[in-house]
Amino acid sequence: MNDIAVQQVFSDDDELQARDSAESIREHIVEIVSDSGEGAQKCGQTFGIVGARMGNGVWTVEIIPAEIQPPARTPDGASGIRIRLGEELMTNMGNEANLVVAFNEQVLRARIASGAYNSKTIVLLDNMWASDESEDIRTEYSEALAEFTDYGLEVHELPIQEECLKIVPDPRKGKNMFVLGMLSHIYSRDADKALDEITKIFARKSEKIISTNHELFKAGYLFAKENIEHHFEIVGKAQTDKSMVVMSGNQAVGLGVMASGMEIVAMYPITPATSASHYLADDFHRVGGFVHQAEDEIAAIGFAIGASYAGKTACTITSGPGIALKTEMISLAAMAEIPLVIVNVQRGGPSTGLPTKVEQGDLLATLFGAPGDSPKVILAAATISDCFHFVALSRKLAESFRIPVILLTDANLATGVQPFERPDVTCDWFSAPVDQSSWDESVLAYDWDEETGLSARPIPGMRNGEYVLTGLAHNRNAKIAYDTTSNQEGCDMRSRKLAALGRTLNVPEIHGDPEGDLLVVGWGSTLGTIEEATDVARENGHKVSSLHLRFLSPMEPGLEEIFKRFKKVMTIEINYSDDPKAPLITDENRRYAQLAQVLRAHTLVDIDCWSVVSGHPLQPGNISRVIIDHVTEIEGGK
């Protein structure tokens, strides 16, 4: 039996021995890069999950090529994954990788170009190309190798393909498990946990496939043990007593929907939002929910609005271009006060832009996109845990405030995988069943509370509650009203709801000292990076703190006061702003990053910004340099 084999190969002695000789480190960043379709991502995800199960801090981020099946052995085709593994909680993708396993030398070149490595990076490279039958390939290989050496990388050429061929005839499917084995030895992983995970991956496949993959894993493990000098140990200290879950941001959104009690997700496929719906399509039935794939984005939100109107607050999930198309409907939801949850998994814009890449480019569009005044609640998830919890929160806010709620996440959260505390869902999380009691006839359909703008809504089926919802200007009685006061009153009441919600929010907590030279403000998926970078700056003796906003509409309170306690405030964002040093750009005409723009109007504080639209997640190393540059300037100006 298989299990016995495991025992045999990984005897206690072996394990012990392995651990003994390992160098103890606090964290490492590992990448696995390959052509698309070679399973590098599956390998890395499993490596990450094993890490999480061992109590390590883990952050994974996928390296996604633009094409479905890009040509093999091309830099553009680089597909893979990065795993940051540490003793403590990891909050971002980190800087240059410490170790990378590459299935061919070309994909490595792309990663080098994007600054993923430095001269200390250990490279484990499949050497199969050195003896390829094509002379071109052999040349490419040796040329690239020379390049890498120039770059200072420590390259180990390994016979990965060759070793796998001993077990399977076509190592394109299987090499990844061999590599997982290698990595498991290098990082002193618990091999049983890894084998467990492999079993899970292939659960729907045959016994044969499972055992072959186990075999590959073991071969890799032993190969590393015998042939690779590098051997590390990263003790898992992040583990709490609490049970943990590990998932991607999009899965978290899907689970959040399930835990919120929403029963309808209406969507139209769009990268990088779609995988949230894929997850739901698999699992939504567990809570009696249904995913409607509509004919387009407008129909998707229309369908969700219909369900919401009928009493089942619904959700639509999309990305930038989809948000653009939904603009008119979002405005209807605001105007007619239809509870609705809209998840926007932001990607690179404008237009079709960078579909698979990260940007925080939709803040202004969601705040201001619709003609007229269309107040809505806007939340931004900063972590994968937020992705889960904020969906449930959104549903509650949508219903309590009779308002559309937009939850902003991004491509980085969507595909990143991270452990977080297992949420303790209770039945209170679910929306109440559709109320079908009689409606009190004396209560109007929009019986706005003067103070808060709030009102209860009749649900179809409620006797005596009959009213006609309209996107035209209307009065408390839901009747179309063109008189001189109704539209003003309606606008007042809808805006008032934001003030009412704002009153319930707390002043956000500052990361670092409550005053100082520089305050860095961020939002969304950059939380971990900014905090880590701020910490570095502070460790270097600079008076820097950071602040992360999760409510963007209404704003969290107390910002102006916080800002005034710092000599300078700047935002760091992944969206466009004019570089102040660029030609023609002056203090007067400079176009600011999106949150900076909003905060300037909101607080009148002269908020600076630093932002990029390269499509890549921010690295703490770069960001700490940016921060130190800015704070040094202030210190100089003292």
Partner: protein, 317 residues
């Protein structure tokens, strides 16, 4: 507060509804507008069926015709131009107990709403779609619609509409999974009544194109047909629209047409020499999407909680 299920069958019997019980605000359509008669007919169908007013949702887009929900004393959703159908589908998606009606115009449905039209017919959710086809944009004051007759002068085509009018029947019949296609004129109340009643009785999406008079912006179009009923072709069949006694005398052109026969329906629809009135097509066996979208509706909270926990389990480390 009652749960959804428990309340569905409450007090249906001790209430009797008159036409007035279905009538909302006073209609603001022009004198002589065909919409008035259609509205009255809808009221009648509701009254005959004694539908609970609070269980009716009439959904519309924007246009003269789309004002209809305001004139019903029921729940209503007067939404966005062209988008009545996705909203109606959403309403129905989790509320099988609601009786969903859609009022839309030729511009609303066939122009800006064309994608939703094709796809709503495909979904075939249980609802009654009435297209008020006056061959013109009424509310915005006389622009060309897809069904404006060629050469008819409008404000966007003062030299006359330049394309032959779209035939909504042939397109509708071409949509896979379509289950009910009928056509009627607004000025024959008994037949209109039977048509809307049959549409409402049908399980699935019933598509009824109603040729509707707009005396203000489209005098000519319908007058031809009204003046000379020979321009109409009455479709008769035992499975078709019931033709009330006496009514069929008005039609000099009549044919027997089996509404189960799609090929014949296509041929009848395609022949534009006469305007067919009656039921072109009906397929009671077409798949209804709402039966799928409503799956799981009766799940209780404890089951849901178990479901969420099972799902979380698979991510737990």
């Amino acid at each position: 507060m009652f749960g959804l299920k428990s309340d569905w069958s409450l007090d249906t019997n001790d209430r009797y509804f008159t036409l007035d019980d279905y009538a909302g605000a006073e209609p603001r359509w022009c004198t002589g507008c065909g919409d008035l008669g259609i509205l009255a007919t809808i009221h009648r169908v509701c009254r005959e069926a004694q539908i609970l007013p609070e269980k009716i949702v009439s959904v519309s887009g924007i246009g003269c015709s789309s004002r209809l929900p305001h004139y019903m004393h029921t729940y209503g959703f007067h939404g966005l131009h062209g988008r009545a159908l996705p909203v109606a589908c959403g309403v129905k998606s989790r509320r099988p107990d609601l009786d969903v009606w859609v009022a839309t115009g030729d511009g609303d449905c066939f122009s800006i709403g064309a994608a939703h039209w094709v796809h709503a017919l495909r979904y075939n959710m249980d609802m009654t779609i009435l297209v008020f086809d006056n061959g013109i944009y009424g509310l915005t004051k006389k622009q060309t619609s897809p069904t404006t007759p060629e050469e008819y002068q409008t404000n966007t085509h003062p030299g006359g509409a330049i394309l032959p009018p779209l035939n909504p029947l042939t397109v509708s019949l071409g949509v896979t999974n379509v289950s009910f296609v009928a056509q009627m004129v607004d000025w024959n109340p008994p037949l209109l009544y039977e048509t809307i009643k049959a549409a409402h009785d049908h399980k699935g999406t019933s598509f009824v194109r109603i040729i509707q008079r707009c005396p203000v912006y489209m005098e000519q179009m319908n007058l031809d047909m009204m003046d000379d009923p020979a321009n109409l072709l009455l479709l008769k069949h035992e499975n078709g629209i019931l033709v009330p006694e006496g009514v069929d005398r008005l039609f000099e052109n009549q044919i027997e047409h089996d509404p189960m026969n799609l090929a014949n329906a296509m041929a009848v629809a395609a022949d534009e020499s006469k305007m067919p009135v009656g039921l072109l097509y009906r397929n009671p066996d077409a798949l209804c999407y709402d039966e799928l979208s409503n799956a799981g509706l009766d799940m209780i909270d404890e089951e849901k909680l178990a479901g969420v926990n099972d799902a979380l389990d698979s991510f737990t480390i």
